[in-house]
């Protein structure tokens, strides 16, 4: 690999100054003349027929412009996602509390807010179902119009009976994980403008502008060349702005279309929590076995995800759940059955980890139980079984390169001083205990075989005549720092020009083609690869032109630190402004070349593409090359546990991640720390409570608790770089992984401290107290 000057350095983010000074304009920070405001009226019922909608009172409220229902939709009342089941506005039937039924449009937020209370809808109650396993039994009420089995995936490898018979020890367990709310700080918000009644422009906070484009095309029946979706600076997403912007962006467009005025639809926090998708809760049944020496012989998993009422992204989430269900280990015999059942509750969608944190928690508890039964150090048990270069995953995929799992284990072991502490802590008795726990895991990078169709990306770079640069991509920055990383890649790819010369344009569906969603930790390696390919084309043209100007062959031109040298005499003096000097000029600067190309009518504007390396999946056996590559990690938690109160005080988390190559190590660290803290919330405090009608009871930050600065332990991060040859500068995606192992390692640390068998999260003090009584 050539020496890197910009990629691989912890350079500051170009977007940070505007954010710290308050200049950056998020969606709700701007308004347009004559703009109207919209608000959603939603059904409070879990399962009901809609008999009559009476809008008269609401319409006569001052300031109300109009109220739209399903009948006002000129196109299709279907949100294009994975299945054709999801409607923008419920028409005959409402199947979860929070399902949008009408859109109220008025002059200001207060009026639409008040008018909402005046809408009268007559419902006829139907029997609801709230548990996914129940919903899949015969005779259960039909929730989803296409049937309650939203998805089913299986994996069959080897022969499970053989695996069982070979095992000296078999461990069983049932595990439960809760809903998780994204709690991005900026709520969902969209502005739609029907420009000259020709182009529908939708601005907003989102991960996937092309999903929104398709949603607007559906609801309005308009072609894609009449729909321009532009992402505004996005205040966090974590998966929560993958599916939901299609619904709310689509409704904003409908309102603008119907009223002919710009319309703003911003959800307040309460509505945002009540009406937006969550992480799927899960229940899983595990059985694993190993020989006396610790080698795993089989893993059998049955897992149920609660999909909520509509499919949205569930089939993909469930697939990732199935593939990650047996962890990061070499296992000859595998049987996985993964089901997603529909229930009369809020639909679940994407959330950092996408179906895998649930099963990583379960599998990592299983591994610890197994270690205990075998009398083996749990971290060592993982070392015995962990995937290494050349091994096969549970889907039969050979791993030819970039497998840094064992390195992450040894690094985490020495950083945390594992061996000594892990043995000592269980010996501490009394009220205040201490514990250490670990988790190891993998993450399939990108959309994988299940999302093949979408797994491509386009980038466009243009060099302006003064040598400054703009580029466009179809993936988004939602706070994770993609803009920074891609700018670094572009700066490096253009021969080491300074980052300040490069600007990423707002993501706009008119500037590049659909590049798939910004999910699955894929932005860096997909858009990064596309950028490098456009850079290459531009550099080839510039070198060719430079060679003419420096009278040499293109091969004799060397591009370094933004200068085109004639290799033979790199040290001679720079040409001046005087054109006469050019013949003898040993080098030209990037700016000079940009201006030369411009005046010679040589375009420096190139598209680049990323096409995913092939993946495959055999649905009957679950065998194939599931993902292009994997990221790996080991996480260790140390905590104090008060046996009297059940309270846990986290002390330290060590998070060691193999990510191929860190394009920006500071950014990487930030991703790890942030992900770990979301994982802490998941492990220890976050849950949604429902009433008996399936309605969310805690739609606020005083009732849905997320970690504050005081809940966070010391976080020690380390990066392992086992390069991924197909990624830009060796990088592979990893943004989701930091969250994934936290619940497992914390649960294992609680067990290490107390001997309590943890089988569900969040681990609240009540749970500890209740279980400690059983000891």
């Amino acid at each position: 690999m050539p020496e890197l000057h910009i990629a691989g350095k912890p350079l500051p983010r170009p977007d940070a100054p505007g954010k710290t000074m308050g200049y950056t304009q998020y969606l709700d920070d701007w308004n347009l003349p004559g703009m109207l405001h919209a608000r959603i009226y939603y059904s409070p019922k879990p399962h009901a027929l809609i008999r009559r909608i009476d809008l008269r009172k609401a319409l006569s409220h001052p300031g109300i412009h109009s109220i739209l229902t399903a009948r006002d939709i000129p196109g299709k009342n279907f949100i294009p996602m994975m299945k054709d089941d999801w409607t923008f506005l419920a028409e005959k039937k409402a199947i979860y509390p929070g399902e949008p039924v009408a859109l109220i449009i008025g002059n200001n937020r207060e009026s639409v807010c008040r008018a909402r209370a005046l809408i009268q809808v007559e419902y006829e109650d139907l029997k609801p179902v709230f548990d996914p396993e129940e919903s899949l039994q015969t005779g259960a009420p039909q929730v989803n119009p296409l049937g309650n089995l939203i998805a089913y995936h299986k994996i069959r490898k080897g022969n499970i009976e053989k695996g069982v018979s070979e095992a000296d020890v078999v461990i069983e367990g049932i595990y439960e994980t809760p809903y998780q709310e994204h709690a991005y700080l900026e709520t969902l918000g969209y502005i739609a403008v029907f420009h000259d009644k020709e182009i529908m422009r939708v601005y907003g906070t989102m991960q996937c502008p092309f999903y929104v484009q398709n949603a607007v095309a559906s609801i309005l029946g308009m072609p894609q060349n009449s729909i321009q979706v532009i992402q505004t600076p996005t205040g966090g997403a974590f998966g929560g702005k993958e599916d939901m912007p299609s619904l709310f962006g689509g409704l904003a467009a409908l309102a603008a279309y119907k009223t002919g005025k710009p319309v703003k639809l911003v959800l307040d926090r309460r509505d945002d929590i009540l009406l937006s998708s969550k992480r799927h809760p899960s229940r899983s049944y595990y059985r694993i076995g190993a020989k006396k020496n610790g080698a795993l012989t089989f893993c059998e998993v049955k897992v149920y995800l609660d999909a909520g009422a509509y499919a949205t992204l569930t089939p993909a989430v469930l697939w990732r759940c199935a593939v990650h269900g047996c962890g990061c280990y070499r296992i000859p015999h595998v049987k996985v059955d993964a089901y997603a059942g529909a229930t009369n509750k809020i639909p679940c969608g994407a959330f950092r980890g996408f179906g895998s944190p649930q099963v990583v928690f379960a599998m990592e508890r299983q591994m610890d139980k197994l270690a205990q039964a075998l009398g083996i150090d749990p971290l060592h048990l993982r070392e015995i079984n962990c995937l290494r270069k050349g091994d096969e995953t549970v889907t039969g995929q050979k791993l030819p390169f970039s497998v840094g799992l064992s390195e992450t284990i040894s690094k985490a072991r020495s950083m945390s001083k594992w061996s000594k502490k892990w043995r000592q802590y269980p010996l501490i008795k009394g009220e205040k205990r201490r514990g250490l726990g670990c988790a190891t895991f993998l993450y399939g990078v990108g959309l994988g075989a299940a999302g093949k169709k979408l797994d491509h990306a386009e980038a466009h770079i243009r060099i302006k005549s003064d040598g400054s640069v703009v580029f466009s991509v179809g993936t988004t920055d939602m706070g994770q720092g993609m803009e920074t990383v891609l700018t670094q890649i572009a700066a490096e790819g253009l021969g080491g020009i300074p980052m300040e010369k490069i600007r990423m344009l707002p993501v706009d569906t008119f500037s590049v083609e659909d590049s798939g969603p910004t999910v699955a930790s894929r932005a860096t390696y997909t858009s990064g690869t596309a950028i490098l390919s456009s850079c290459e084309k531009i550099i080839t043209t510039m070198k060719k032109t430079a060679s003419k100007l420096l009278s040499c062959k293109p091969e004799e031109i060397l591009l370094e630190k933004g200068c085109f040298f004639r290799i033979k005499s790199p040290k001679a003096k720079q040409i001046g402004k005087n054109a006469d000097n050019k013949k003898n000029a040993p080098f030209l600067t990037f700016e000079e070349m940009a201006s030369e190309c411009f005046s010679r009518h040589i375009p420096l504007s190139e598209y680049g593409y990323f096409d995913s390396p092939p993946t495959s999946w055999e649905p009957e056996t679950g065998q194939g090359k599931a993902y292009v590559t994997y990221s790996f990690a080991t996480q260790i938690a140390e905590l104090e546990l008060d046996m009297e109160t059940g309270e846990i005080e986290l002390q330290d988390i060590w998070a060691v991640h193999d990510i191929g190559k860190a394009i920006n190590p500071q950014n990487t660290e930030g991703q790890i720390e942030g992900g770990v803290v979301q994982g802490i919330g998941y492990a220890l405090m976050e849950f949604i409570s429902f009433n008996e009608k399936g309605m969310i009871q805690n739609p606020s930050f005083s009732t849905y608790i997320i970690p504050t600065s005081k809940d966070v332990p010391r976080i020690h991060t380390a990066i392992v770089e086992v390069e991924y040859p197909e990624g830009p500068y060796g990088a592979k995606g990893f943004g989701e992984t930091p969250l994934m192992g936290v619940a497992g390692c914390i649960a294992n640390a609680v067990v290490n401290a107390s001997g309590i068998d943890i089988s569900r999260i969040p681990i609240l003090p009540e749970y500890i107290l209740q279980e400690s009584r059983k000891l």
Binding site: P12, P17, G18, T20, M21, G22, I706
Partner: protein, 159 residues
């Protein structure tokens, strides 16, 4: 006076004397954002639970979504726009950028306001004091570690 009649409020906003006519039930955050166009102050919850709307009211951090505009009368209000009046970042802001304490940035203005109040009162806070000072400011992106570091660094600079 009926609830619909406008009330005059006079106060100091980022060092300047200003006045506005507001409805008695208008929130401070709405007045700042809409009437004065200072949109650096964010709304993350509207219920006093996230700290995104933090401004300094007579030097003390306050959730502007819980305060009525009329309560600003005769007071001093500072917003994020007042922290870098010439478009140049102050040392705290620079530290936030340098330390990588900004991700999505939605919590950032509120955190800077809370930290500004802390550093004025206590120029050399301990890590614990920093964590306490920003404990009302939720950040879902960063895990707080780099924010705490940045505030610490800014406090060292002022030595």
């Amino acid at each position: 006076m009926t609830m619909t009649e406008d009330v005059k409020v006079k106060f100091k906003l980022n060092g300047r004397r200003v006045e506005a006519s507001v409805k008695p039930n208008r929130l401070l955050v709405d007045m700042i954002r809409e009437d004065f166009g200072l949109t650096g102050t964010k709304i993350g919850c509207g219920m006093g639970e996230c700290g995104a709307c933090t401004v300094l009211l007579d030097g003390k951090p306050a959730a502007s979504c819980l305060i009525l505009a009329v309560q600003a009368n005769g007071k001093t209000i500072e917003t994020i726009e007042g922290a870098s009046p010439n478009g140049r970042m102050n040392s705290l802001q620079e530290a936030m950028v340098k330390e990588g304490a900004v991700q999505c940035g939605f919590c950032t203005p509120g955190i800077i306001m809370s930290a500004t109040a802390l550093l004025r009162e206590n120029p050399h806070p301990t890590e614990e004091e920093i964590r306490t000072a920003i404990s009302g400011n939720l950040c879902r992106c960063t895990g707080y570690q780099k924010i705490v570091k940045a505030i610490k660094k800014a406090s060292k600079k002022s030595e």
